[in-house]
Amino acid sequence: MAEKKLMYGNHAMVEGVIAAGCRFFAGYPITPQNEIPELMSIRMNEIGGVFVQTESEISAINMLFGAAAAGKRAMTSSSSPGISLMQEGISYIAGADIPVLVVNVVRGGPGLGNIAPSQSDYYQATRGGGHGDYFTITLAPNSAQDLYEFPRLAFELAEKYRNPALILADGLLGQMMEPVEFSSKPIDPKSLPEKEWALCGCKGRERRVVRSYDLKAGKLEVLNLRRAEKYAKIINKEQRFKTEYCDDADLVIVAYGTCSRVSDAAVKMARDKGFKVGLLRLITLWPFPMDVLGDMAKKVDNFLVVEMSNGQMIDDVKLATECRSRIYFHGRPGGGVPTPPEIYKRIEEVLGGAR
């Protein structure tokens, strides 16, 4: 076992990105993710990578478009208002079928909001976010270890499906310190295979064009239908989640990220008090793990959705369970973070004397 290091989540992410073979970072400072560009500027310099502090998030996402179109692993990070600015670029990148990694360390919104942790960018992340028919693979870490490991997974999925991938963290995960184990051997970017679509000069081959448009009659429809097939494949194969105590549960909490950590503690409190409560922690938000929820809905009567928002993921839970079960909600919008006791209280309210 490798030595464990106590690290900030944001720092663990940087090391994870580098271990994943990424050598290009472009970004613009915004709290609460500033530790990422700060450490990136040092680390990229040490290892011969590229770090660009851009004039805006718009520029950052387009530099990513360029670097990734050149066939390289490239990432940017930002927080909610900055991610909104990037949506134009993300839409183009999705339209050009280029794999990139975008990290959103979510903060309270709308508008300038605040710098407290939040999950209110769920809709934006899981519905595409920009204009047009597309989805972005969205991963939800809940520990510093995840922040270290998920960049590699994100790049692998992004490249496998030629699609942008998002990591949806939040201020709490980024600012929290936890032990991190550098669990896997770092990838040497030179060992990654050349992409058969990458722009690198047309020596010895046909010229290549990366574009997100097709104005010829009917062509875009064909392209988008092909993309729909890709999305169907991702939905089929890549739903990721973890269950805990769900087998005999009268109530299952559905949560991701920070809320899944807090809910985990609430579940343990409830089990100690004799309530049969389980936890479904979602790892992919798109594709949404609807199959497991659909199965659970056949035997679980109650679901409690916990989110740091006014309720966004709850829509997907309702769709996945086809409203066969009762769906309850506990939300903390605007930077509020739920505590284990308040979630436990909600469990008590729902289950009442059912212990």
Partner: protein, 177 residues
């Protein structure tokens, strides 16, 4: 065994450093740990607090609502966190800067003239180390030697003189009660 700790004071009192040192110490003793800082709007002079969880099992929530142990360095923090302590928990407070009396009867209360002691040792800003020394002695949460190792991981760039002074403050606190 899971212990949830909150350390609170104003910016500049080494609140965040104290939390990180505890977390490092937990890690050195092969425990599961989380550290989560929470700042006021200002980086200096505002209130600062952090949550540390030290446990034998993987830590579920890094968010601490009802701490087992609270280390309080200034007056506003006492008002804010005294009511949140678990019954049977422990409150350690810096008597030099806090004039009011804790009200709770269902918790253990420990008062330390942290600033006075720190200044006697030669540096007001090591009051936090005195408090940490007292805290681990009273709770038996972690070993003194581990904390000495842990502060070296936190203060990587500090000179030997400062590190030795920190050790002294830890020892002083440890030996107080």
């Amino acid at each position: 065994m899971t212990k949830e700790i909150i350390i609170s004071g104003f910016g500049g009192q080494g609140i965040v450093s104290s939390g990180i040192i505890l977390a490092y110490a937990g890690l050195i003793e092969d425990k599961h740990v989380t550290f989560f800082p929470s700042y006021g709007a200002e980086m200096r002079g505002g209130t600062a607090n952090c949550s540390v969880v030290v446990s034998g099992e993987p830590v579920a929530s890094p968010i601490v609502a009802n701490p087992d142990i609270v280390v309080i360095m200034n007056e506003p923090s006492l008002t804010r966190f005294e009511p949140t302590i678990k019954p049977g928990g422990m409150l350690l407070y810096n008597k030099t800067l806090i004039k009011s009396q804790p009200q709770r009867k269902d918790i253990a209360v420990v008062s330390i003239e942290a600033n006075v002691i720190a200044e006697e040792l030669g540096q007001a800003r090591i009051a936090n180390m005195v408090m940490l020394g007292v805290m681990i002695k009273k709770t038996k949460l972690l070993n003194l030697e581990t904390l000495k190792k842990a502060q070296r991981k936190r203060f990587v760039k500090a000179n030997d003189e400062q590190l030795a002074l920190n050790d002294k403050a830890l020892e002083k606190g440890y030996g107080l009660l």
